[in-house]
C-alpha cells in the first residue's frame, strides 16, 4: 500500500442487530469502531419484538 496509509478504524451506521454484529466482529478483530445510532439507544427493531421465529426465543 505504498503512499496510502490505511486508517484502522471503522464507522458502523446503525445500531440494530446487523450493525451490532459487524461492530462486535470488527472490535474483536482489532479495529476501533464508531457505532452511530440515530435514536437514543441501540437494539433496533429486534428490541421491539416479543419473540423470534422459528425457536420462539425471547428477542431481548
Amino acid at each position: 500500500m505504498a503512499g496510502t496509509e490505511k486508517v484502522g478504524s471503522v464507522t458502523v451506521v446503525g445500531g440494530g442487530v446487523a450493525g451490532i454484529q459487524a461492530a462486535l466482529d470488527l472490535a474483536d478483530s482489532g479495529y476501533f469502531v464508531y457505532l452511530i445510532e440515530r435514536s437514543g439507544a441501540i437494539g433496533g427493531a429486534m428490541a421491539q419484538l416479543d419473540k423470534t421465529f422459528p425457536t420462539n426465543d425471547c428477542a431481548m
Binding site: S9, V17, G19, D25, Y31, G40, T55
Partner: protein, 941 residues
C-alpha cells in the same frame, strides 16, 4: 454514539472523513442514574414509538427498560420547557443527580476512519396514508408491530391480548399478509418483504399461547417459509396449533355494528363469497427503506435498487456501489434476523480484508480492577432477584422470594430489580458489592446460558473473582413452566434461591487459563463458499489450507449460469478459482479428504489423505463448507422413464447445449417442490422458485409463442426477486397452484407428455400437453457432512444440515468453539447468500485468529493429587479425550500413577467426577461439597 446521524462522507477507501451530527439529549449521561423520577414527574404524554403507538410515554423517557445506554432523553418536539422557556421544568427540579441540562446543544463531530458499514435498517410500512383496510380509522385494525407490542410482557397490556377499542379479550383474529409488500396499487413496494409470513405465523402461535381457544386465521397469497426450520414451524402451526391458513386476497374490511367488530369478505378457493367476523385484524406490514436513509444514500453516492435498497453485486453481496463502504441488514434488501447477523459479520470481513494492514493500530485493551482477596472471609452473599418485567414477577411472588432470601445463612443483602440485566442494575450491583463488602453473588433471574457472562463481567469490574457467582433460574425453570400455579412456583423459587446460596457459599475464586492460537485456518470444501472464506482469510493475512474432495474447485456452482440478477457465474467462478490458486497464503489440496480431527479452538490437528498419502495440519480454526447435492427424483413424475423429463440443472445443461427437445419445444411445464416440503424433507430448498421463474422468462423471451406453465405450491420469489415473478406473469407464463395431496400426474402421450393438475380457477382438472417437463428438485446435504460431523464432534439437524450454535444470533458458528460453517452445508441458499455466509464465517474466524491467545473457562476438571491413585476409570468415560494417565517412580523408589487433565480439551462436563470412586477429580466450581450442599438445601424444607 447515540442520537447521532451521518451528514456527510468524503475521502476514499482506506481513509474516509465522516461528519456526524449529534442531537442534544438534554440529559447528562454521566450523571443520569435512570431512576425514572423525571419521567414520573413529567406532565407531557406522547405516543410511544417503541410501542408502535400502542402506549404513551413521557416527553422525557428511556426507549425501553433494557436500553443501552440506559439513559433518559428529552424529546425536544414535545417537551414543554424547551418549547416555552420558563414553563414546567419538573424533571430538572426532581432529578436527584442534577442530570437535566436544558441548554444542551447540537454537536458536530468529524471522525477519520478506514471504512464504513451502512446498517441503517428499515421502517415498517405505514398503512395509514393509503388507508389500507381502515387502518387509522378502525381502532381494531392494527399492524403486526403493534401486535408484537401487545403480546410482549413489556408492552402496553403486559402481554394480555385485548382489543384496543374496548379492552375486550380477543377471541378471533385475522392476519392479512402482504400489506405494503407485493403491491403496486396501494403502495409502490412491489417486492416481497421476506419476513412477514414467518412473523405472522409466530405471532399467531404466541397469541394462541396467550389466549386459550383463540381462533387465528392467516389470509395469504403465498406462504413464504423458505428459511431453515421455517417449513416445520409452518406445518406445526397448521397441525399442532390449529392456525387456519386461507389463500386469498381479502377484498374488504368493514366495521360490523358499533362495538368494534370487523367484517371481512373474501372469495375462498372454491370460488365462494365468504363473510366472517373478527375482533381484531392484524396487517402484516412490510419493510421499507426509511426516507432519511434514501437521502443519505443520495448525498454520499450510494446507488439504490429500483426498490430503494442498497445496490450490491451478487458476488460482493455486502459491498455498496462506493468502494470502501459496505452494507448489511435490511438496507441490503428485506431480510430476517439470521441473515442480517450473517451479513453483519460479512461486512466486518469486507472491512477487515481492506484494512488488515492497520489492524490493532487504534485499539486499546479493556482493563479490570485488581481482584479483591476473599480467602478466609466469611461469606457475605448478595442476592439479586429479577422481575424480568412480568416474565417472573407475573407468576412468582418476587417480594416473598426476596424476603425469604434475606433469611438465609450468609446472605447480607437482597435486592429486587425490574430487569437485572439492564445497564443501570449492573452499575447498582457494582455499587452494592463495594458498599456492602459482598463476596459472593446470587442472581435469581433467567438462564446462565445467556446471562452469566454479563454478571460475571459486572462482579469482575467490582473487584470480585468472576466465578463467585451463582444463578438461580427463576424464569425458564420456574415461572415459564409453572405459570398456572403461582403459589407453588413461588415456593420453588425459594428452593432454587436456597440451593444457589448454599452452593455459592462454598465457591472459591477460580483462575482461568489461556491457550495460544495457531494463526492458520483450515477450510473443508472448495465450492464457492469454501473458496470465498479461504480468500477472505488470506486477504486478512492468515495462512489457509483448503481441502477439496474432487479434482477441481467450484463445487455445485459449476452447474449454474447466472444469479437472480443475471450476473455471469462461470466468469466469476473462473476469476475466483484463479485468485484462490494463485494466492501464496492458500495451500490447496485437491482430491483430498479429512480422515481424522482432534484438538480444540486455537489448536486443532486435522489429518487429511491425498492419494495414498496422509498429512497432519495444525490449525487454529476450521470452516466447513462441504456443500449439498441435488435430489434425484427417480420414479417421480416419469423421471428416468421419459426422455422429456429433466431436473432443473439437467434442463439448464441441455438447453445450453442446444438440445433439439428444448429448441423445438412449444410447451414447457415446470413442477416445483419436487422432493422439498414433504414429510421426509420438510424444508424449502429456497432457490428453485426463482430458478424456474428465470428459466420460464428466458423461454418466453426467446419465443413468446411458447406456452410455459409453472405448477407450484407457493411461489417463493422472496425479497426483490419478486420482480422476476411479476415479469414472468407479464410475459404470459401461467402459474397454477397445486397442493401436496393433489400432485400433478404425468403420463406419456403420443407426442410428448400430458400433465394433469387441478385448476383452482376453473375448478376442474386441467390437462397440459407438454414437450418438456422440468422438475425443480430439492437440495440435499452432502452425505459427507455426517462423517465430518462425527470427526469434529459437531451436530447436524434432523435434515442432515449442520446445526448452528444459535438460529438467530450465531448463524455461522458451530457449538464447538473455533469451527464455522458456510454455504449449502448449512441450508439451501443462492450464490449471493452463500458468499455472504462464507465471508461471515471468515470474519468470525478472524476474530479468533487475530488474537495471540484465548482465555479458557475456569470450570474444568481438577485432579486432587493426594486422592487420585491412577485407576484410570475416568479416562474411559471422558467424551473429549481430555484425560491421560501419568506413571512414574518417586524419590523413595515407589511407583506412582495419576491422571492429568488437558484443560483446553476438558469441557467441564463432570463425567470424571461422577465416575471417580475416590473423590480424586472434580470440576472447579462444581465440587462434590458444593453439589452436596445444593442437594441438602433442596431437601431441607
Amino acid at each position: 454514539m447515540t442520537l447521532c446521524e451521518v451528514t456527510d462522507v468524503t475521502g476514499t477507501e482506506g481513509n474516509f472523513t465522516v461528519k456526524i451530527k449529534e442531537h442534544p439529549r438534554y440529559v447528562d449521561v454521566d450523571k443520569c442514574i435512570a431512576c425514572g423520577i423525571c419521567a414520573e414527574k413529567c406532565p407531557k404524554k406522547v405516543e410511544d414509538e417503541y410501542n408502535a403507538g400502542t402506549a404513551k410515554r413521557k416527553a422525557i423517557y428511556v426507549k425501553y427498560a433494557q436500553a443501552v445506554p440506559l439513559k433518559y432523553q428529552i424529546d425536544p418536539e414535545h417537551c414543554i420547557r424547551l418549547n416555552k422557556p420558563g414553563k414546567c421544568g419538573f424533571c430538572e427540579k426532581f432529578c436527584p443527580s442534577g442530570a437535566i441540562n436544558f441548554d444542551d446543544k447540537e454537536k458536530l463531530h468529524t471522525i477519520n476512519v478506514g471504512s464504513i458499514i451502512l446498517a441503517p435498517g428499515f421502517d415498517c410500512f405505514d398503512p395509514k396514508e393509503a388507508g389500507i383496510w381502515g387502518y387509522g380509522r378502525y381502532p381494531n385494525v392494527i399492524t403486526s408491530m403493534q401486535l408484537e407490542r401487545y403480546l410482549s410482557a413489556s408492552g402496553p397490556t403486559e402481554g394480555h391480548l385485548v382489543r384496543p377499542s374496548d379492552g375486550k379479550p380477543v377471541r378471533k383474529m385475522a392476519f392479512l399478509q402482504c400489506v405494503g409488500s407485493r403491491d403496486q396499487n396501494r403502495c409502490s413496494n412491489e417486492y416481497c418483504s421476506s419476513v412477514c409470513c414467518m412473523y405472522a405465523i409466530k405471532e399467531a402461535v404466541i397469541a394462541k399461547d396467550h389466549v386459550d381457544g383463540l381462533d387465528a386465521t392467516i389470509f395469504f397469497m403465498d406462504m413464504r417459509t423458505f428459511g431453515k426450520d421455517f417449513e416445520r414451524y409452518y406445518e406445526n402451526a397448521k397441525t399442532r396449533h390449529g392456525i387456519r391458513f386461507v389463500r386469498c386476497r381479502v377484498h374488504g374490511v368493514e366495521p360490523h355494528g358499533s362495538d368494534g367488530d370487523l367484517r371481512l369478505h373474501y372469495i375462498n378457493e372454491e370460488g365462494r363469497q365468504i363473510e366472517e367476523y373478527y375482533d381484531l385484524v392484524v396487517l402484516s406490514v412490510g419493510l421499507e427503506t426509511p426516507q432519511q436513509v434514501k437521502e443519505l444514500a443520495a448525498k454520499i453516492g450510494i446507488q439504490l435498487t429500483p426498490h430503494n435498497f442498497a445496490a450490491t453485486s451478487a458476488f460482493s453481496p455486502v459491498l455498496t456501489s462506493r468502494p470502501g463502504i459496505f452494507t448489511c441488514g435490511a438496507f441490503a434488501g428485506p431480510k430476517d434476523i439470521p441473515q442480517s447477523v450473517m451479513e453483519g459479520s460479512a461486512a466486518a470481513a469486507g472491512v477487515a480484508d481492506l484494512l488488515a494492514p492497520a489492524r490493532y493500530s487504534l485499539t486499546q485493551e479493556k482493563s479490570f480492577p485488581p481482584e479483591r482477596d476473599v480467602s478466609g472471609q466469611e461469606p457475605r452473599i448478595g442476592v439479586f432477584v429479577c422481575h424480568c418485567g412480568s416474565n417472573i414477577a407475573g407468576v412468582v411472588d418476587v417480594e416473598a422470594v426476596a424476603d425469604y432470601a434475606a433469611s438465609l445463612p450468609g446472605v447480607v443483602h437482597v435486592e429486587r430489580n425490574l430487569f437485572t440485566c439492564s445497564q443501570d442494575t449492573q452499575d447498582l450491583m457494582k455499587k452494592r458489592i463495594e458498599e456492602q463488602g459482598l463476596n459472593r453473588i446470587v442472581v435469581a433471574a433467567c438462564t446462565p446460558r445467556t446471562h452469566e457472562p454479563l454478571f460475571r463481567e459486572t462482579i469482575k469490574a467490582a473487584g470480585l473473582n468472576e466465578y463467585l457467582l451463582e444463578m438461580a433460574n427463576l424464569r425458564n425453570h420456574d415461572s415459564w413452566v409453572h405459570s398456572n400455579d403461582p403459589t407453588k412456583a413461588t415456593e420453588k423459587a425459594k428452593d432454587l434461591v436456597r440451593m444457589a446460596v448454599a452452593k455459592v457459599a462454598l465457591q472459591s475464586p477460580l483462575k482461568a487459563e489461556s491457550v495460544g492460537i495457531v494463526p492458520v485456518a483450515l477450510v473443508v470444501g472448495g465450492g464457492i463458499a469454501g473458496m470465498e472464506s479461504a480468500l477472505s482469510l488470506a486477504d486478512q493475512g492468515f495462512e489457509v489450507h483448503l481441502i477439496e474432495k474432487r479434482k477441481y474447485l467450484g463445487g455445485n456452482a459449476r452447474h449454474l449460469n447466472h444469479t437472480w440478477t443475471y450476473e455471469d457465474i462461470p466468469r466469476y467462478l473462473d476469476g475466483l478459482v484463479k485468485k484462490v490458486t494463485e494466492n501464496p497464503l492458500i495451500h490447496l489440496y485437491l482430491e483430498s479428504e479429512v480422515i481424522d480431527a482432534k484438538g480444540f479452538v486455537g489448536n486443532f490437528v486435522t489429518t487429511i489423505q491425498q492419494g495414498g498419502k496422509k498429512k497432519e495440519i495444525k490449525h487454529g480454526i476450521g470452516i466447513i463448507a462441504t456443500g449439498g447435492k441435488g435430489y434425484r427424483p427417480e420414479g417421480e413424475y416419469g423421471y428416468g422413464e421419459y426422455e422429456e423429463v429433466f431436473t432443473a440443472i439437467e434442463f439448464d445443461a441441455v438447453k445450453k447445449a442446444g438440445d433439439f427437445r428444448v429448441k423445438r419445444g412449444r410447451t414447457f411445464v415446470f413442477i416445483q417442490c419436487v422432493g422439498s416440503r414433504q414429510e421426509d424433507r420438510l424444508y424449502c430448498s429456497r432457490v428453485c422458485c426463482t430458478h424456474s421463474v428465470q428459466a420460464a422468462i428466458e423461454l418466453k423471451k426467446e419465443d413468446p409463442s411458447r406456452s410455459v406453465y409453472i405448477l407450484y405450491r407457493d411461489m417463493r420469489t422472496y425479497g426483490q426477486r419478486e420482480a422476476l415473478f411479476k415479469e414472468a406473469r407479464m410475459l404470459g407464463v401461467i402459474f397454477i397452484n397445486y397442493e401436496l395431496h393433489g400432485r400433478p400426474k404425468v403420463k406419456k402421450a403420443k407426442q410428448g407428455l400430458t400433465v394433469e393438475v387441478w385448476d383452482h380457477v376453473l375448478h376442474r382438472p386441467l390437462i397440459i400437453n407438454t414437450d418438456v417437463l422440468v422438475l425443480a428438485t430439492a437440495i440435499e446435504p452432502n452425505p459427507v457432512s455426517k462423517e465430518l460431523a462425527k470427526l469434529y464432534k459437531v451436530p447436524v439437524d434432523s435434515d442432515g444440515f449442520f446445526q448452528e450454535a444459535h438460529a438467530k444470533l450465531r448463524p455461522v458458528d458451530f457449538s464447538v468453539d473455533g469451527l464455522y460453517m458456510a454455504g449449502l452445508a448449512h441450508y439451501p441458499k443462492p450464490v449471493e447468500e452463500a458468499i455472504a455466509q462464507a465471508k461471515a464465517a471468515a470474519a468470525r474466524a478472524a476474530s479468533i485468529l487475530s488474537r495471540k491467545e484465548i482465555p479458557l473457562e475456569a470450570t474444568k476438571a481438577q485432579v486432587v493429587l493426594e486422592k487420585c491413585d491412577g485407576c484410570g476409570l475416568c479416562i474411559d468415560v471422558c467424551p473429549y479425550q481430555a484425560i491421560t494417565l501419568l506413571e512414574g517412580v518417586d524419590d523413595q523408589g515407589h511407583p506412582w500413577k495419576r491422571v492429568e487433565i488437558n484443560k483446553a480439551q476438558c469441557k467441564g462436563c463432570g463425567l470424571c467426577q461422577g465416575t471417580c470412586p475416590k473423590d480424586g477429580v472434580y470440576v472447579a466450581g462444581f465440587s462434590s461439597q458444593q453439589l452436596r450442599a445444593q442437594i441438602e438445601a433442596a431437601l431441607a424444607v
